[in-house]
Amino acid sequence: MDQNLEKILVRGNEAVAMGAIDAGCRLFFGYPITPQNEIPEYLSKHLPPLGGEFIQAESEIASINLLLGASATGARAMSSSSSPGISLMQEGISYMAGSELPAVIVNISRSGPGLGGISASQGDYFQATRGGGHGDYRMIVLAPSTVQEMYDLTCLAFDLSDKYRNPAMILGDALIGQMKEPLIRRKPQQMDLPPKDWKLTGAKGRKPNKIKSLYLQEGELTEHNWKLYQKYEKMKEEEVRFETVNTEDARFVIAAFGSMARVSKTAMELAREEGMKVGLFRPITLFPYPEKALYDISTRVKQFLTVELNTGQMVEDVRLSVGRDAQVFFYGKPPGALPPPEEILEEIKKYY
């Protein structure tokens, strides 16, 4: 594929769709829901000419199960939705984790609970990072905060899900999905990935492959769960990604992800202008969470402010990560308008 290094102005949702295509995804299954419709709209137009498949399924339950089937053949496939639809997918995601099937699921999250609203929210953090469906599993969760990252992290999600044979999620929100920003569509180098010798292609010249999550023999499921656990541990060792800004000399650090990290960054700059040594910690992988990096910062910094577009979810991970002598404050906004940076600055001043 030609590398297009020119900047193009696109919406975050379109950047996700472009990333999927550039990562070699040729199958997409989804059901309409605001604020992610630009993803299926883009792919319904661009996949067929590439020989790909686009199905507007009858529900998100069907979407996730179409995805499960396509993934079992070794193909790269994706589904996207927004919060209520992602809730419907949870059983399927659990089956994919249990069956060790890779796939990318995009949540351009909106606000809840229930029908909630279509404004940006980070209320799905727990659902995304704690498994979400039944059983003891985890999903790789990537949280973009720019349109460029919507593209880059979608590409990365395909590699990581293949590497670990585990579903991976892009957790965006209405703001990043709808926002237009310049994008450089630079296809990243694909990781060195193990061959998919498990895939279903017909048992020709080999023993049949079986992909399942049912384990009934004595001890089998225990062993399987430990095996999955080892994968999650390996993710924690190898896949943690985060961004730090001005944390070296900081006395006070804001922790925020996704769209809230953007506002927090501006708040940090305002604080710096007023002479306060404030830094920013932005996890890019929400699972695996950058626990160690945050702990290391907390050996120097003793005050943290977690800022989220909810009533407090990631703040638990921040508290779990930092050293015992660090103070963790929380500033939350339930869904609706994003707080202006000045509002966060006021919070900083309360504790700094």
Partner: protein, 250 residues
């Protein structure tokens, strides 16, 4: 001497775990024979649904994928869309297809997905111990219809084959039984035809097999066979409901 009755190549040489007199084993055999007949074992993917047929992967000598309860037809469609050169089938129970997965079943047929769906209708939830199914007959007692199914509470038994036949996307729809040799021969032909439809890319093929569940019906094998004849077939008439002669879209 020529061997006239042998294990299909497509089945692994292990005994079925099904209860004595259960028709699931016969359905497996019919599918295996059809796969052998078309010599497609090496390019067939089976999708196991959740019900007594979930252990498909222990019996079929082919690649198998397990689907969540009710979602087998969506999973099978996903496999097929990714690899149109493969043959994909699923065996779904009446709870699986007629209740929890009816949406996926209907839309799979309606999209004309070129897969084969074998519908195992035994009028009961076998695997979970004999609860009422959407196909349980009126008056039939189950563990959750202890007074007998009453339409004022539970509605009527669903005729899936008739419903599937109304959809433009379905290419072949039949209902068969395997309770006696004559019916079994017709069932064998229908299952073979369903796979032929897929091989010839004619679209969605569907065979409903009326099956016994002696264990949860509380009957002996022979009594269960008789019940299929006397109670099920009158409500679920046998026959070919639809057969597309050429792929309409060609």
């Amino acid at each position: 001497m020529e061997l006239v009755f042998k294990r299909p190549e497509c089945l692994i040489d292990v005994p079925f775990h099904f209860c004595p007199g259960c028709h699931h084993g016969i359905a497996h055999r019919l599918v295996a024979e059809a796969i052998d007949y078309f010599k497609i074992r090496e390019k067939t993917i089976g999708v196991a649904s959740v019900g007594c047929s979930v252990f498909m992967y222990d019996y079929f000598n082919i690649d198998v994928l397990e689907a969540p309860h009710g979602r087998a037809s969506a999973v099978a469609s996903g496999v097929k869309r990714a690899r149109k050169d493969l043959i994909v089938f699923t065996i779904q129970g009446d709870g699986d297809l007629g209740a929890i997965g009816i949406g996926e079943g209907i839309h799979t047929a309606n999209r004309g997905e070129n897969i084969t769906l074998i519908f195992a209708n035994n009028g009961i939830y076998g695997m979970t111990g004999g609860q009422m199914a959407p196909t349980t007959l009126l008056g039939q007692k189950t563990t959750t219809s202890p007074y007998g199914r009453d339409f004022t509470y539970d509605g009527y038994p669903i005729r899936m084959a008739e419903m599937m036949a109304t959809l433009e996307g379905s290419a072949f729809v039949a209902r068969v039984a395997v309770n006696n040799p004559a019916n079994l021969m017709k069932a064998k032909k229908a299952v073979r035809k369903a796979f032929q439809m897929q091989v010839e890319e004619m679209g969605f093929s569907f065979v409903e097999i009326l099956m016994s569940c002696p264990t949860n019906w509380g009957l002996s094998s022979l009594e269960a066979n008789r019940r299929v004849e006397e109670e099920m077939i009158p409500y679920f008439p046998l026959g070919i409901l639809k057969e597309r002669k050429m792929a309409d879209y060609l």
